[in-house]
């Protein structure tokens, strides 16, 4: 097939991504500067008011900061949990490797609503954890695990853990086993091999895992809404409220855009700081 006819293969995807992704993103940017409408999605005029409203009220700023914090902590915690698991799973001769791999994948197969629902059963004041602790006489009053930031982070960690484990695992699997062996032959101790050889080589996977989890955390709606119980709101929850409940579309667009820009900026800085210069 010639190059020129081959481009036809790309055409449907190109049309889809241009018409239904690129163009809408341009639309949403302009829409964030629209005046609120009366019974219509947005009014005739243009205004900076939507952004003014966000940046003048501590409620929205605080909420955005909290959302970013939730994203950052979730990313860090998933990374710390995922690293050992990814290294273990990457071992080809691991006992019951198939099962372990299935368990890591399983959250992906179970819907996000169901998983978050499972956490409400576990974390609630009358939930499994609190009741067990109470039955054992360890606590008198239920621990505040739900309807707060802590609960959201626990549930998000669970929800996005596979997205951290899988890229790291595939990066680790790509490491030639003779490389760490070479390091050991040069006198490096076990821990030094991990720190100086394996972690740097797993860096591409770590990087993409972190970016993925961070972005997914920022924009997740279901988990914060269910676990936060509308008491702790993240920016994404407020965006959906603005769109569906209070019907303030331009404001919702402005809020979502602000979150995306701040989040995207953070990702860029992160990618810059962890830039990888080598190639395999």
């Amino acid at each position: 097939m010639r190059q020129r006819t081959a481009i036809l293969l790309l055409l449907p995807a190109a049309i889809l991504l241009t018409v239904f992704l690129a163009v809408p993103y341009v639309t949403v940017i302009t829409s964030a500067f629209r005046t609120p409408g009366e019974g219509t999605p947005f009014g005739e005029g243009y205004t900076l008011g939507n952004f003014g409203r966000i940046f003048s009220q501590w409620y929205y700023i605080g909420q955005a900061l909290n959302t970013m914090l939730i994203g950052a902590i979730t990313t860090l915690v998933t990374l710390l949990i995922a690293l050992p698991v990814a290294f273990q799973l990457a071992r080809p001769k691991l006992f019951l490797r198939g099962l372990a791999y299935g368990i890591v994948l399983s959250p992906l197969l179970v819907g996000i609503v169901i998983r978050s629902y499972g956490w409400t059963i576990l974390l609630g004041n009358n939930g499994v954890i609190n009741r067990t602790l109470r039955d054992w006489g360890l606590i008198d009053h239920p621990l505040p695990l739900m309807y707060n930031t802590l609960g959201i982070i626990i549930a998000l960690t669970h929800v996005f853990l596979p997205f951290m484990i899988l890229p790291i695992m595939s990066a680790v699997q790509g490491i030639d086993p003779s490389v760490p062996a070479a390091a050991r032959s040069l006198g490096a101790k076990r821990f030094t091999v991990i720190r100086r050889v394996l972690l740097p080589l797993a860096m591409p996977g770590i990087q993409s895992g972190c970016i993925l989890v961070f972005v997914l955390s920022l924009s997740s709606y279901v988990t914060p809404a269910l676990i936060g119980g509308f008491r702790v709101k993240t920016t994404a929850v407020t965006v959906v409220d603005a769109m569906l409940d209070t019907f303030q579309w331009p404001f919702g667009a402005a809020l979502a855009l602000t979150l995306a820009v701040v989040g995207g900026g953070t990702v860029l800085i992160f990618a810059r700081l962890t830039r990888i210069k080598w190639k395999t």
């Binding site: 449907p12 995807a13 698991v85 368990i103 669970h158 970016i211 979150l259």
Partner: protein, 260 residues
């Protein structure tokens, strides 16, 4: 970390990963009217309730329908794009990859809002299922693309040349050589696409038309006001159905794939 600490740590992580799923399935077997775990007395009564609940049944139907249509399109579009990406993209490969997985990298909430504005802007709105379907195709496309392009990367272009030298025309080459050899990626992509579509929430919520709530939306809606184990029963059925499909594909189609 010694090998044993590592193993114990990982075991705890696996328990953590399974915990909410086990809890949901356990709670669904509750005999009582309230959600408790471990269940107080075993019964399938909530499953019976669920099977008589039109709202949930309709939501499951909608979800299956949307997932099937979205997967159909994203598999075709994604496979074509992957074919171009691996064999023809040349220097633009890196850019193309980013573009094709961009729906995954962009925040779903903003994509949903953007699509909503766009659909109203061009006059389509959310009166039909079109918007939601487009959203689902967008969100599942990266998974098809990643799976298929991964298996295409291990496809040796010499195979195509060998087939040509033996006299095979383009369509025959695709059907007899390319397709069977990328089958694992194609199946993986289809499966992923279906499961992801079944799970999409925010896009469905903002783009759904009236009366086309998918299962996640219906379930979420129910959970906001109800605490009966019926939601757990619905969830369990969904989990088991997904599991059944995955195992079925792995055993039936997967076996042929692993032959070489």
């Amino acid at each position: 970390m010694s090998r044993w600490t590592l193993n114990i740590f990982c075991l705890l992580v696996y328990i953590f990963l399974m915990a909410p799923i086990i809890v949901v399935i356990g709670a669904s077997l509750n005999a009582g009217a309230f959600l408790t775990f471990p269940p107080q007395g075993l019964s399938l009564r909530w499953y019976v309730t669920f099977f008589h609940n039109d709202v949930f049944l309709r939501a499951i139907g909608t979800s299956l329908w949307v997932a099937a249509i979205a997967t159909f399109f994203s598999v075709i579009i994604g496979t074509m794009a992957a074919l171009y990406y691996v064999h023809f993209a040349g220097k633009r490969k890196e850019w193309l990859r980013v573009a094709l997985i961009s729906p995954l990298l962009l925040p779903e909430i903003l994509t949903a809002v953007a699509l909503l504005f766009f659909l109203y802007g061009v006059g389509i709105g959310t009166k039909t299922m079109f918007g939601m379907l487009v959203g689902h195709v967008l969100m599942t496309l990266p998974f098809v693309f990643m799976n298929v392009s991964a298996s295409l990367e291990s496809y040796d272009t010499d195979w195509t040349m060998a087939a040509r030298s033996l006299g095979a025309k383009p369509w025959v080459r695709f059907r007899r050589i390319v397709l069977p050899l990328i089958k694992p990626g194609l199946i993986g992509g289809t499966l992923f696409s279906f499961v992801i579509s079944f799970d999409i929430y925010t896009i469905s919520l903002l783009l759904k038309s009236i009366g086309t709530a998918t299962l996640p939306i219906q379930l979420f809606d129910y959970l906001k006001t109800n605490y009966t184990p019926e939601a757990a029963a619905v969830s369990s059925v969904s989990i088991l159905a997904t599991l059944a499909v995955v195992i079925f594909v792995e055993k039936v189609v997967g076996l042929k794939v692993h032959k070489f």
